[in-house]
Symmetry: C2
Subunit: 213 residues, 2 copies
C-alpha cells in the first residue's frame, strides 16, 4: 500500500482506482482492493461514490475535463489552420504523456456499455467535435459532414492513445528510447501524416463538388 | 447457454471464451464461467489449455494466423503501390468486420503483459512488418526506418480496430447506419487519408536527403 497521507480519502480512493484500473482493467478490480490500496474503510467508497461505477464516472469526468482543455483555444485565427492542427497534436501527445494512467483507463473503458456513463460520454464527445468545427472548416472539410468527422477525429485520437497503450509490445519490437526527442519527432510525424491526409480528403471534396456542378 | 452441439469440446471452449472475453474483457471472466458457457466440465479446460492464459494464447494464435493472411500477397508488383495499399485497407476492414469478436478480444488483450504470450506477439508483429517492407519501400519510405514504420503501421491498424471498438459510442454520437455502403466509403476515406499522409512523409524524407547532400 502506497503512502497517500497528503490527500483526503476521496482523492486517495480515486488515485488508487486509477492505478489499479490501469494495471488490471476496470472489470478485474474489486472495491475491496481499491479500499485496501487507498488505505480507507470500504464504507468510504459507498459514501463518496456509491460503488465502483461511481468511481469510474468520476475518473471519466476528470479525464474529459482535463482533455477538454487541450482543445480549448486550439482554433487560433491568427495562425494558419496547419499550425493550429500541429499545435493541437503536440498538446494531445503532451497531455497523454503527462496523464498516462488517467488517459489509458478512460480510453480503455470508454467502449464499456454502462448506462450510468452513456450520456456523459456522448455529451463530452459532441462538445469536443463542436470545439474544433471552425478549424475543420478552415482545413477545407465540411464540419457538418459527420462521416468525415467520425473518421478523421477518432483516427487521430486512437493513433496517439494506442501509441501509449501498446508501449510494452513496441518496446520489444522497436529499438528506440521513449524520451523527449522521441515525442517531439512523433508529434511532428503524425502531424505531417494527418495534415497531408486531410488535405487529400479536402481535395477530393472540392473535385466532387466541381464535378457535380 | 448457447447450443454448440456441432463442434468438439475444444472449439466450444474457444468460442465461449471469445464471446465472453469480447463482452467482459479477459480479466473479468473465470474458467468456471467459460466451462458453463461451453457446456463442458471445467477439467476439460485444464486438459486442452492448462488454464485461462492458455485459452488466450490459442485465441491470439488464431487471430494472428487469420490476420496474417490479410497481408499475404498484398505487395503485388503488377499494381501501383497506391492500389496495393488501398487493397490492403479494404481487406483489413473486411477482416475485422467478418471476425469482430476475435479481433476485438485480440486487440484489447495485446497490451496485456503476460510472459506466456510475449514472444508470440513480438514474432507475429515482426513478421507482418517484414511482409509489407517491399510495399513500404515502393511508397517512398525507408523500410529500415523503424521510427516511421512504428508510427504509420500502428496508426492505420488502431484507426480500423478502434472504429469497431468504439461502435457503441459512435452510434450515440453519429447518425449513420453501419452497412455495406458505410464500410465501402469508410475504407475509401481512410485509404485517401493514409495514402496522402504517407506521400507527405515520403516527400519530407526526400527533401531532407536532398538538403543533406
Amino acid at each position: 500500500m502506497k503512502e497517500r497521507n497528503g490527500s483526503d480519502p476521496k482523492n486517495r480512493i480515486l488515485d488508487a482506482a486509477i492505478s489499479l484500473f490501469a494495471q488490471k482493467g476496470f472489470a478485474a478490480v474489486g472495491v475491496r482492493e481499491i479500499a485496501a490500496e487507498a488505505g480507507v474503510n470500504i464504507a468510504m467508497i459507498s459514501y463518496y461514490f456509491e460503488g465502483k461505477v461511481g468511481i469510474l464516472k468520476e475518473i471519466l469526468e476528470e479525464f474529459f475535463c482535463r482533455y477538454f482543455l487541450v482543445f480549448e483555444g486550439v482554433d487560433d485565427k491568427s495562425k494558419s489552420p496547419e499550425d493550429c492542427v500541429r499545435g493541437l497534436i503536440h498538446k494531445m501527445v503532451h497531455f497523454v504523456r503527462e496523464n498516462t494512467e488517467l488517459a489509458m483507463v478512460s480510453y480503455n473503458e470508454i467502449p464499456l456499455d454502462l448506462p450510468e456513463i452513456t450520456e456523459l460520454k456522448a455529451n463530452r464527445i459532441t462538445a469536443m467535435i463542436q470545439n474544433i468545427s471552425g478549424l475543420v472548416l478552415r482545413m477545407g472539410l465540411d464540419p457538418k459532414d459527420s462521416f468525415l468527422i467520425a473518421v478523421v477525429g477518432p483516427s487521430l485520437i486512437s493513433t496517439i492513445f494506442t501509441n501509449f497503450r501498446f508501449r510494452p509490445v513496441m518496446k520489444q519490437v522497436f529499438p528506440f528510447e521513449f524520451d523527449d526527442a522521441y515525442y517531439e519527432r512523433y508529434a511532428e510525424t503524425i502531424s505531417t501524416l494527418f495534415l497531408r491526409g486531410i488535405e487529400g480528403l479536402a481535395q477530393e471534396r472540392r473535385e466532387k463538388k466541381g464535378g457535380a456542378k
